[in-house]
């Protein structure tokens, strides 16, 4: 009997893995929305390329979460049969693409974090997570280079591109704090050496981000109030629309194989 939604046993390791998988899936999905609509063909390819990398990371992480969970869930059930409240991605990554500057700023803020994060996770005592980290780090290093270069081109390009890039930074800044947030479910994993403490990444992240933003003649906002909730399934209103599109076929034809 086909089910409309799945139950997930959110043990700390499953929850931890799903949070990272959801990050990759949701950002990959957003990037894939650009396909055929980018400002230039080269960028169409680059955005699809990064979207594909992220989709690949999501699939590996979902597969691992399914294995750890030990129920009959799999990557597609996690992706297609969980509702908004079960999704655990960062709020930053579900933000709409907006214009190219908004997409690039979102990409830059996350890639600058992901690059540090995956590099640190290569030391995880969990061999699967360490292996996924080793692969993902190579990809995020490319993503951070690509988005940094665009930050500088847009910030130090024309008046209009500068204005758009600054406005994207101002709008998205409040979503960056969630990347460094730690909750109780992750503490045990950190003590066991499975996860890393994201708070420790904040200083190096800020150094990278300030450096690029500075070179781009842009500025970081003074307001350091940070929005949270994605990790607990309290999302912005954007995610529901994204999921209704993403999940439409498996929900229309429950139980079918594609």
């Amino acid at each position: 009997m086909a089910v409309a939604s799945i139950q997930v046993s959110e043990t700390p390791l499953v929850l931890y893995t799903l949070r990272r998988a959801d990050d990759a899936l949701i950002l990959g999905h957003r990037l894939s929305e650009w396909c055929g609509h980018a400002p230039m063909m080269e960028e169409d390819m680059a955005l699809a390329n990064m979207g594909l990398d992220l989709l690949g990371q999501a699939r590996e992480l979902y597969a691992y979460a399914a294995k750890v969970e030990g129920r009959d869930n799999d990557e597609d059930k996690f992706a297609y049969l969980r509702d908004v409240r079960q999704y655990r991605n960062l709020l930053l990554l579900e933000q709409p693409n907006g214009d190219f500057a908004r997409t690039m700023v979102r990409q830059f803020f996350y890639a600058a974090f992901a690059d540090l994060y995956w590099r640190a996770m290569m030391q995880s005592s969990d061999p699967t997570l360490a292996a996924i980290a080793a692969k993902s780090e190579k990809e995020s290093a490319y993503h951070v280079r690509h988005s940094s270069e665009w930050m500088v081109r847009l910030g130090d390009g024309t008046e209009e591109s500068h204005r758009r890039a600054q406005s994207a930074i101002d709008d998205l800044w409040a979503y960056t704090g969630e990347m460094f947030h730690l909750d109780d479910s992750e503490r045990g994993l950190i003590d066991a050496g499975i996860a890393i403490d994201p708070a420790k990444l904040h200083a190096p992240w800020l150094k990278t981000v300030s450096g690029v933003v500075n070179e781009a003649t842009l500025a970081l906002p003074d307001n350091n109030w940070m929005q949270q909730g994605g990790r607990d399934g309290r999302h912005s209103e954007h995610l529901g629309h994204l999921l209704s599109e993403l999940q439409s076929l498996p929900r229309t034809f429950p139980g079918a194989t594609w």
Binding site: L25, H29, S32, E33, C35, G36, H37, A38, P39, M40, M41, E42, E43, D44, M45, A48, N49, G51, L52, L55, G56, A58, R59, Y62, E75, D76, A79, Y80, D99, F100, V152, R153, L154, D156, G157, T158, E160, S161, R164, E245, L246, S248, L249, P250, F253, G255, A256, T257, W258
Partner: protein, 330 residues
């Protein structure tokens, strides 16, 4: 203005296209030599290739749209990754082909502007809508299948840059075709709803795909010189027949019915198909297909909305160059 731009590529020497050069050129073609960008070539050869290669490039780029329409809705992560990779490949094909076209002397920007202005065509097939997920399977199976039939002979086309681009394109294209067929296999083995979806896709794509091979031989305006110059190695009807003969058994394997009740196999083993609705084909080429307006609007919007990004990149590159000059001068 654009016509002028096309003509300038012929250079100042176009008036000395003498009989000896033409004869030498044709002798090289007849000896199956490859023509390269710096070689002398008749202005009409340059023009016809610029037209064909750029239209081929436009087709790859516009062709991203009907399939891109389903990337956010692909029904499994595996299918989503494959589709995204495929559409990315198509963009890459567009880039190879524009590069090949540029070796003939017209810039990519000029060629793209012609397409956006509706003055240069792209393949008629991309003016049809993708209404269900099965359409993505049907496009891979049939549209890429037809494209391969058309493109394999182009790997031996007389113009070197085009032939080499085609070798790379065909490798990826056959992979896409297998992916599309695999989607159809999965659907045709699936639920009743999935089988119906697959049949509906075949019903809607079959005739438009046959039209991809172009007008019948007796009405094809570019065929004579294209054949003489070995740009074209088989006629439209020959390739169309090859495609039909290869595809009928695949449809039978899927348990699907080709929407041509009059179709029958003749004594030579070829499948004879019914008359194609050339009026529909002409309407689609004239801009009156189901999606012509949407496709061009989407490409124009991407181009217009992206203008400030391209301007920013240019402005930044210029500033950087000036700073480097200033540093060097110090």
């Amino acid at each position: 203005m654009y016509t002028q731009a096309l003509n300038t590529s012929d250079g100042d020497n176009s008036h000395i296209e003498d009989a000896a050069r033409s004869a030498n050129f044709q002798a090289r073609i007849d000896a199956d030599e490859r023509i390269e960008p710096n070689d002398w070539m008749p202005a009409a050869y340059r023009k016809t290739l610029t037209r064909q290669i750029s239209q081929h490039a436009h087709s790859e780029i516009v062709g991203m749209l009907p399939e891109g329409n389903w990337i956010t809705r692909a029904p499994s992560l595996r299918r989503k990754a494959a589709l995204l990779a495929k559409v990315q490949d198509e963009c890459g094909h567009g880039l190879y082909l524009y590069a090949a076209a540029e070796t003939l002397g017209t810039s990519r920007e000029e060629l793209v502007d012609l397409m956006l202005a509706g003055k240069s065509r792209y393949s008629s097939i991309f003016n049809y809508p993708t209404l269900t997920w099965a359409d993505i399977g049907a496009i891979g199976w049939l549209v890429d299948g037809a494209a391969i039939m058309n493109q394999i002979p182009l790997c031996r086309c007389s113009y070197g840059p085009y032939a080499r681009a085609m070798i790379r394109v065909c490798k990826e294209e056959s992979f896409h075709q297998r992916q599309g067929f695999e989607i159809m296999v999965t659907l045709s083995k699936g639920t009743e709803e999935q089988k119906a979806m697959a049949q509906s896709a075949l019903d809607r794509w079959w005739w438009p795909v046959l039209m991809m091979f172009g007008p019948p031989d007796k009405a094809s305006q570019h065929s004579d010189t294209s054949t003489k110059w070995k740009i074209k190695r088989f006629s439209n009807d020959e390739l169309r027949q090859k495609f039909v003969d290869a595809t009928v058994p695949q449809a039978q394997f899927l348990g699907l019915t080709i929407p041509d009740p009059g179709m029958k196999q003749n004594a030579n083993g070829n499948w004879e198909y019914s008359a194609i609705d050339w009026e529909e084909f002409n309407q689609v080429l004239a801009g009156n297909g189901p999606c012509n307006r949407d496709r061009l609007a989407a490409r124009r919007k991407a181009h217009d909305d992206g203008a400030w990004v391209r301007e920013a990149a240019t402005a930044y590159a210029e500033k950087r160059k000036q700073r480097q000059h200033a540093q060097a001068a110090e």
